[in-house]
């Protein structure tokens, strides 16, 4: 019993210490970068705190940004359970938003709940097609899913631009090429007393459900077996092809619904502001969370905060918005490199005893 407690304590310490090391290293490196640019790192970090988490206003901002990240991160995390790395979440998000906006235009007269359901279904289907295609290419043609999903993202953005500039364009909107606005009954409102829209709830529920499916159902078990050992999966009779395509489609659908939420809660129409890189940031949320849907929730909030603080850092300290990209890149690298610490040093002995949701994508 005591031994078991000790092992658990060490496991928890490792779980907390490895990311902490990564965070400190990232903070130091990024501090050096801004110092080179002639800005005081301490000021940058205090500004980031203020812009991301310092006030209720910034918290609301952060949570609004965290909502789509939870969904795009799930789009990466689900296939990752089976050992696949896809970068197609951005395409699914963008086309999902477009499909949802167009659906609301087609069914202008539908009552609110019906319209929202139609928008969510259209967005989900559009996303499922984008990501499902790379699953199909993987299964049927053996095409690497990382590259195909990325190419499909570029293609999706091209299709998006083509449709928004052409057939789907609202001619009365002179500022920017946009679709027709979503009718009022199709808009997603805010949680009372806040400026946070209900999309946050959707993201939260999606992460909870995904976690239950992955860790508590036979389906999730089959996914993890497939990720751990393809041959073993075949031997116990798991249909790798169906499972792969199905999970890719599910991930794409979730990201597509993320796009739908962005359209129905933020802009009220689909335009270029949908292409904000949520799909790419989601990848990196998923990696930091080690593809665990429950951990995706706090990581999304953290990265949402970094994103939300970008504007303030830009205005007050004159650092370009790209500094957020650099910070994200550095954090991502540090987190990946810190993985190497797992199971070493003081943790070495317990590595064999406690299995902590191994990262399916980590190479041994």
């Amino acid at each position: 019993m005591i031994l078991r407690l000790r092992t658990t304590a060490l496991a928890v310490a490792e779980l907390a210490l490895v990311p902490a090391c990564a965070a400190v290293a990232a903070a130091l490196i990024f501090g050096a970068v801004v110092a080179v640019l002639g800005v005081d790192p301490v000021q940058v970090y205090s500004m980031m705190w203020l812009g991301g988490f310092g006030t209720w206003f910034s918290w609301q901002n952060t949570l609004v940004r965290a909502a789509p990240l939870m969904l795009t991160a799930l789009c990466f995390a689900l296939p990752a359970q089976m050992g696949y790395a896809i970068i197609g979440g951005e395409g699914a998000f963008v086309l999902g938003g477009l499909a949802a906006a167009e659906a609301s235009h087609i069914f202008v007269a539908a009552p609110g709940p019906v319209m929202m359901a139609e928008m969510a279904i259209s967005g989900g289907i559009a996303g499922a097609i984008v990501v499902g295609l790379s699953g199909a290419l993987r299964v049927w043609r053996g095409v690497n899913e990382t590259i195909s999903s990325l190419l499909l993202t570029y293609l999706s953005i091209a299709i998006f631009n083509q449709l928004v500039e052409g057939p789907f364009r609202d001619p009365s909107d002179l500022n920017q090429a946009s679709t027709y606005p979503v009718p009022d009954q199709g808009l997603i409102g805010s949680i009372p007393g806040t400026s946070i829209h209900w999309g946050l709830g959707v993201g939260f529920v999606a992460c909870l459900v995904a976690s239950l499916v992955i860790y508590r159902t036979g389906l999730g078990f089959a996914m993890r077996v497939l990720g751990g050992n393809g041959r073993a999966a075949r031997m116990v009779g798991i249909s790798a092809a169906k499972l792969t395509i199905g999970v890719f489609c599910a991930g794409g659908a979730i990201a597509g619904i993320g796009g739908m939420i962005d359209v129905a809660a933020i802009d009220g129409k689909a335009n270029n502001s949908l292409i904000a890189g949520y799909g790419y940031t989601g990848i990196f949320v998923s990696f930091i969370a080690r593809h665990n849907p429950l951990i995706i929730i706090p990581v999304s909030v953290l990265l949402g905060g970094i994103g939300a603080s970008g504007g303030l850092v830009q205005r007050r300290l004159g650092l370009p918005y790209a500094s957020v990209l650099v910070l994200q890149g550095i954090i991502f690298l540090c987190v990946l490199v810190a993985e190497t610490l797992r199971g070493r040093g003081p943790f070495g002995r317990i590595g064999q005893q406690v299995v902590l949701a191994p990262d399916p994508l980590a190479s041994s």
């Binding site: 640019l37 195909s148 190419l151 500094s323 650099v326 190497t340």
Partner: protein, 305 residues
């Protein structure tokens, strides 16, 4: 009339092939070298963008476009070395590190490139190989950039390097079977570090072409995934440098279809036609891959093939 329009488009695509293939060529050669050593570097997109920025800034600061090209190469190889050093650690995934490098490379380029969006730097020059032609559009089409010629030289040299030299054999052994290489006493990590760094040097040079020749200025929207397309292109080229050359020309041509159609008035479908290289890559990969089997010619240690 139709024939003339068709001819105009064909000529535009051919000249586009020569004009815009250089970044594809350099990045695919760089990735070919990296992958031959058994490692995948998806960070090429970030390296390309950083190379474009450093090339332009270097050319502006030193007054020499070629100094810019060299500096772009060094900036690229810094990121490449970072990739190699991270990936040689246990439990670190090279695809993930590549994605991180895309973020980092583009972020650094945008961050440090801000002051260079306005000023104009000395550009790379082109050789007019069409002096014999009467038609001015043929002459324009045959204005070949010197860096493209350097790229052809690199492709031939790399081909000979892999086939004829001891070092080339070592790289191929490390990429084909790391255990065997280790047994022969070669440092697998050392060889991969060298190959990834040298490969990223080439990719950085390819980036400088974007800012120093075509389109020819430093802006943040300079690359649209060309670095990643080039990674896919290596699979299509079956890890052979000379085939990278033909593949790069094909992709340069595909990239020129959109502007060519726009020039003759077919601008309604501009965005979709501009996506031709991505569609082409997908189709080619679907054709050249086979289910349940490794891609032909793939180094044995490569995970992405």
């Amino acid at each position: 009339m139709t024939g003339m329009v068709g001819g105009t488009v064909l000529l535009a695509v051919l000249s586009g092939a020569v004009r815009s293939s250089t970044p594809y060529l350099f990045v695919s050669l760089g990735e070919c070298l990296t992958e031959k050593s058994g490692r995948t570097n998806l960070g090429q997109e970030g390296i390309l963008v950083l190379g474009a920025m450093v090339g332009y800034a270097g050319s502006y600061e030193t007054g020499s476009a070629w100094a810019g090209v060299l500096l772009a190469g060094f900036a690229g190889s810094a990121l490449g070395a970072l990739h190699a050093l991270c990936c040689q650690l246990r439990r670190v995934n090279d695809v993930a590190v590549g994605i991180a490098l895309i973020l980092l490379g583009t972020g650094l380029a945008f961050l440090f490139g801000k002051p260079f969006i306005q000023p104009s730097a000395p550009m790379l020059s082109a050789l007019s190989l069409g002096w014999w032609a009467v038609d001015p559009s043929i002459r324009a089409a045959l204005r070949v950039n010197e860096l493209f010629l350097v790229g052809i030289g690199v492709a031939v040299a790399m081909h000979l390097f892999f086939l004829r030299t001891r070092w080339g054999l070592i790289v191929r052994t490390v990429g084909g079977n790391a255990e065997a290489a280790r047994a022969l006493g070669y440092s697998v990590n050392g060889v991969r570090l060298a190959a990834t760094t040298a490969g990223a040097f080439l990719s950085g040079m390819g980036g400088s072409f974007l800012s120093l020749f075509y389109p020819g200025s430093w802006t943040e929207s300079l690359s649209n995934g060309q670095g990643l397309i080039a990674v896919a292109l290596v699979i299509f080229a079956r890890w052979q440098p000379l085939r990278c050359l033909w593949a790069a020309l094909m992709f340069g041509g595909a990239e020129a279809i959109g502007p060519a159609l726009q020039a003759i008035g077919l601008s309604e479908v501009y965005y979709v036609v501009a996506a031709a290289p991505y569609v082409l890559t997908l189709i080619i990969m679907a054709i050249s891959c086979a289910p349940g089997r490794r891609a032909a010619g793939a180094p044995g240690e490569l995970k992405i093939a």
